[in-house]
Symmetry: C2
Amino acid sequence: MSPIKKVNKVTACAHPLAHQKAADTLKQNAPKEEELYDLADLFKAFADSSRIKILWALSASEFCVCDLADALGMTQSAVSHQLRLLKQSRLIKSRREGQSIIYSLADEHVKKVFSLGLEHVREI
Amino acid sequence: MSPIKKVNKVTACAHPLAHQKAADTLKQNAPKEEELYDLADLFKAFADSSRIKILWALSASEFCVCDLADALGMTQSAVSHQLRLLKQSRLIKSRREGQSIIYSLADEHVKKVFSLGLEHVREI
DNA sequence: CAAATATATGAATATATGTTCATATATTAT
DNA sequence: ATAATATATGAACATATATTCATATATTTG
């Protein structure tokens, strides 16, 4: 199923589709429905200040859970819950080291998104 | 106030901060608290599939509200509400053209974030 | 000016989500 | 094996947010 509906108009405005060509092109080049949801999910991972802080910390160095909690002023539980979400989003990875679990960024992509966003925020 | 708390440990783990140097560096290079919230807000704008669809459409062409609603299979009201959020986030701009309001991307930054995200999603 | 069309918006509702609390699991030290 | 430490997780709660419905505002047309 395409994320973009048939161009046949059924709902709102009465005027002919003002940008018919664009709408058609849109329909053809449509990313798959699933990709759009994945994309939204990716950005959801960045869409919370606690997770932003965690990602920012991990972009500087790997950390164990309790050090993250200490450094960021969060409870161990809250950090752990957020780390789980970030891991599910494939943005971070972890390894065990004795009693601790060390978390780090999964790849450089995170840094790219992060710095691009920061650049945008700073330039407004 | 720094987003990163004093390194003096008060809460969780008993071991000395495993990555003391990193934590200190972290503390010094800390983006401002406000920047982190702005950053989270920026990504919040991308963190919903309806808005993703709208942004994706606008990255192809400008559109009026009802054409967006038709093309994306959303109600006029839902689209309008989301457009307001996107405009508040400075991601899109609008101009009046007769009875219609034409929306378009505010700048190229949106496309960058969008394509970077899509690239990431596709490469996993 | 009145009717039609396009868009915006407040209120209500349903759902999603972040944090806390209590507790479970896993590893290390004694 | 037992205690101590580090991390994970389920349940509950509070808050945020996406959509719908009804309606208001703005522009054009007759």
